[in-house]
């Protein structure tokens, strides 16, 4: 149907040319602004992680069936056991326990183990390396670098004998294992429990309701604002050709920050109004549900027996 004349927009001449030809790819292809691409990929990664944890928490695994409060207390008990034990065997048993828990909860065991042990414990180990030397932890030599020599390092005189002590090595190894085991158990808990239930379970260890509510809302709006940031950066990406200069990158980053800040301020006001309109007066009321089933009792018993035996048994094994 023709458009009525008074409302027909006057198209500028350049807009009247149909240019649908596809150009040959240039030699410099692949140099599309790395900054925007990286930002988009990182945002997507966080959003995928968020969805992944929801997916796993709905799998029909054993831990998914256990009450979040029981799981939280169990994981805390296991982490504390790992923290206080002085036995390498106990740590290995705890790692094995974590691995079994992961497998019976239908989590991708190998992928998660690589992710867990490949980063944070490794960083911890690196940070613990100086503590392995006899400079900080004197003891039985395990690996001797030199003996009875005067050695200077950046103007400081090192000891006449430098070695990695057995005690220092054990301390670093313990730290490495404790971090890895805690991460492994923590991740199992997070992946097998929907976020809202996990946060609510924090009440059993005395975390105030208002604090839980704030974390819950913060997480929810971070995801929302990430979606908004993704739109911002994708809209920019389709209009960006080639590499951006560092000043353009700063400008883009600054303007995105400003847009997000302004949007989040407006949103915050509306969210507060929405809460007020449903009777919120500063003190959140929630339903406390305490329905523990047989599986929860059985799981609790297993964890109590395991941790007690490990703590007591740890005194007798080295």
């Amino acid at each position: 149907m023709p458009i009525d004349k008074p409302y027909r927009p006057e198209l500028p001449p350049w807009m009247q040319n149909n240019n649908t030809s596809c150009q040959e790819p240039s030699r410099n292809r692949g140099k599309h602004s790395g900054f925007i691409k990286k930002t988009i990929n990182e945002i997507k990664k966080v959003m995928v992680d968020d969805r992944t944890s929801e997916y796993f928490s709905r799998q029909p695994g054993l831990l998914q069936a256990v009450d979040p409060r029981v799981k939280l207390l169990a994981v805390l008990a296991l982490i504390i056991t790992a923290g206080i034990t002085r036995s390498l065997y106990i740590l290995l048993i705890l790692e094995l326990t974590g691995a079994v828990m992961m497998m019976i909860s239908r989590l991708p065991f190998t992928k998660l183990q690589l992710r867990i042990w490949g980063f944070i414990p490794m960083l911890t180990l690196l940070a613990a390396v100086p503590g392995m030397f006899n400079i900080f932890n004197d003891g039985t030599p395990l690996l001797v670098f030199y003996e009875n020599r005067d050695v200077f390092f950046m103007g400081f005189q090192l000891p006449q004998t430098l070695f990695i002590s057995l005690q220092g090595f054990k301390a670093a190894l313990f730290l490495f294992l404790r971090v890895g085991i805690s991460l492994s158990l923590g991740l199992t808990l997070i992946l097998t429990t929907p976020l809202d239930r996990l946060l609510k379970s924090l009440r059993v260890i005395g975390v105030p309701t208002i604090f839980i509510m704030i974390i819950e809302m913060t997480y929810r709006y971070i995801i929302l604002l990430l979606g908004l940031s993704l739109d911002l950066f994708e809209a920019r990406k389709v209009r960006t050709v080639g590499e951006l200069s560092s000043s353009a990158r700063r400008l883009l980053f600054g303007s995105s920050l400003a847009v997000l800040f302004s949007r989040s301020t407006m949103l915050a006001e509306e969210v507060y109004q929405a809460m007020t309109a449903r009777g919120y007066t500063g003190e959140a009321v929630t339903i406390e549900e305490m329905n523990l089933g047989n599986i929860d009792l059985l799981f609790s018993m297993c964890i109590i027996v395991l941790t007690t035996s490990l703590v007591i048994g740890g005194r007798f094994i080295g």
């Binding site: 409302y7 709006y221 309109a277 009777g279 007066t281 339903i287």
Partner: protein, 265 residues
């Protein structure tokens, strides 16, 4: 009049950054009314709804609800405020602002719990609402991962569960597919037929015609330029053109069940 549930007299309101929005605004709403605020974007529909919901307060003039003067100070009284929101439910235009918890069930239970309803009663109401709106399958999902239509349903459920006497909806059909729109219209008509007061803001003329009996038309200069039967407003082409709800090439066709206004493509 005694049966007015809302009464605005000589109300003026402004946003600090944008200057005066309303001045000398008069409006009364009776129990059981179905009212539609019609107006172009930026005409002040949402602000007016928020005044009725005691989320914004008039700078001058008086705003009475259920026979009482509503002031910011009065709304600071927790008991009064809770009681007020038990009677007046507000569905926001932006569902993302309204859905702030991380589980649909908790989102719907939030209102009645804050109102002080016993936990067992809350559980019954939430489950009934989930069943009524056919959204039981969503109850464990985080609201922010739902589609626009689903979010709207949850936002509506979160208000309906309080069972308010007055239901205020800001652009209720925005972002809804045709089937969901029809479902919403049927629901609101049914609620109105059992005595609930319905107030909606929209620029959807079809919705106004189908759903409400009375309409208030706001001009782009934030003035109420019409207050009367919806058919009368929709038949007044000059008025609709003046307030930018249709353009001069719009027209109606059909005269019985199928009256609507649309623009040429």
């Amino acid at each position: 009049m005694a049966d007015n549930i809302f009464e605005l007299q000589q109300v003026s309101f402004s946003y600090r950054s944008e200057g005066s929005l309303f001045s000398g605004l008069n409006l009364s709403v009776k129990a059981g009314d179905s009212i539609c605020l019609l107006g172009a974007n930026g005409s002040g529909k949402s602000t007016l709804l928020k005044i009725l919901c005691a989320l914004n307060y008039p700078e001058n003039g008086s705003f009475k609800a259920f026979g009482r003067d509503i002031t910011e100070k009065l709304m600071e009284d927790d008991n009064f405020s809770k009681n007020y929101y038990r009677q007046v439910g507000f569905v926001f235009q932006n569902s993302d602002a309204q859905l702030f918890t991380s589980r649909v069930w908790d989102e719907i239970a939030f209102g009645p719990l804050q109102m002080g309803l016993p936990a067992d009663e809350v559980k019954i109401r939430v489950n009934d609402i989930l069943r009524m709106l056919n959204i039981e399958h969503l109850m464990d999902r985080p609201p922010y991962r739902l589609s626009g239509g689903e979010k709207k349903k949850i936002a509506l459920a979160a208000v309906l569960v309080i069972n308010p006497e007055v239901l205020i909806l800001d652009e209720p059909t925005a972002g809804l597919d045709p089937r969901s729109q029809r479902w919403l219209v049927e629901l609101l008509l049914q609620l109105n037929s059992i005595g609930r007061t319905i107030i909606i803001a929209t620029h959807d003329l079809n919705l106004a015609h189908t759903l409400t009996k009375r309409t208030l038309v706001l001009s782009e200069y934030h003035q109420v330029v019409f207050d009367g039967p919806v058919e009368e407003a929709l038949d007044n082409k000059d008025l609709l053109i003046k307030v930018n709800l249709i353009d001069e090439f719009s027209h109606t066709h059909g005269h019985t069940e199928h009256v609507h206004v649309y623009t040429h493509g």
